[in-house]
Symmetry: C2
Subunit: 215 residues, 2 copies
């Protein structure tokens, strides 16, 4: 006990404080929304006073921007890891399933915060590109994953892969919202089940080249 009470350097202490403030803010934003949370409350939940807050961030907006960046980046990493690690396509599907199962446990918090940040970004011109990039990359990840899948099955994509990636990504979001709004009625696996169904139908469509009426 009392091994060697880590004495923090100034920089370490500062980073710790910033981290705790950000974490506390994320919690509170989830619970009460960005606008419903005061600087006072953030500092208090993090175990500091407002003085510490203003020493580390210009104001609440600055913190929101930083939080948005952090989360955007980490989510992008996850998406990348998810699509790159998997060698085979079924592998990727399995990873996706596991990922969704895991997220299911914190879904309300995760989604509430995501929506909060989306709304905030919508209202702040400067933050929007950040969000847009995140969405775009996620869609591209899905698109390339799908191309891979079609290639593996020896069929042609039934539409522009970018369009298909958009559908998959959007569907994921929409399904999560539905699960949140109508709890109990929707199993954890909807997202993956839906994805599975889409892939099968698109494969079926691709294999029946009659009825190509695009144009």
């Amino acid at each position: 006990m009392t091994p060697e009470r880590k004495r923090l350097t100034r920089e370490e202490s500062r980073q710790q404080t910033r981290g705790r403030l950000l974490a506390a803010a994320a919690e509170l934003f989830t619970e009460r929304g960005v606008n419903g949370t005061s600087v006072e409350q953030i500092a208090e939940r993090a175990g500091y006073t407002r003085g510490a807050f203003y020493g580390n961030f210009e104001d609440k907006n600055a913190l929101v921007a930083e939080l948005l960046q952090h989360r955007t980046r980490s989510e992008l990493e996850e998406v990348r890891a998810l699509t790159q690690d998997a060698a085979s396509f079924d592998d990727a599907l399995g990873a996706l399933r596991a990922w969704n199962r895991d997220r299911a446990r914190h879904l309300p918090e995760w989604l509430a915060l995501r929506m909060e940040l989306v709304l905030h970004a919508l209202r702040n011109e400067e933050l929007r590109p950040l969000l847009a990039e995140r969405e775009l990359l996620a869609r591209e990840a899905h698109a390339s994953g799908l191309e891979q899948a079609f290639a593996a099955r020896g069929v042609q994509a039934p539409a522009d892969p970018a369009f298909l990636g958009l559908i998959v990504h959007a569907l994921e979001d929409g399904l999560l919202i539905q699960r949140l709004l109508t709890p109990g009625g929707i199993p954890d696996d909807v997202v993956v089940d839906a994805f599975d169904l889409l892939l099968r139908s698109w494969t079926a469509l691709a294999q029946r080249p009659d009825g190509e009426g695009d144009g």
Copy 2:
């Protein structure tokens, strides 16, 4: 000119005031969020003082609840009208297309307010059932529309219609969010185009009964 200056009865005046307050609140919620809007601001935008507000609503939450109800009901009406009026399926698709075109013009406002209200309902136990009902009905409307479509084409639904309806509805939401986050990159018609693609793929899947691996 000055025909007969309509002198309002008390009840009429009260209803007018309520209506204006609700409309002003909707605007402000869209712009700054529910939590970012004060009773003061609502009253001011509506052209009244706080006194009028508290004479008509218990507090801001009561107003939000009422706004949520209004919008939920009117949206449900729209969905119902959309699916019932159309005799043929292509008819319904056309109506859907027109509807989406129309909404595209006010998409940012519409979606921002919807997300605001969703978040608010998520945090208020009592309001959630209202939202849930709305979503459920929308999904059912899609489901029955799909059943009709499959019947018209003489094929069987490739999965539980309720599941398919959920997918369509969720996809709609998700696509709108994507359009909002990445403006410019997504045409107005995505929702309908995506719907069209899904229907064709599902029809294709249904017509190839091999590979039915459910269960």
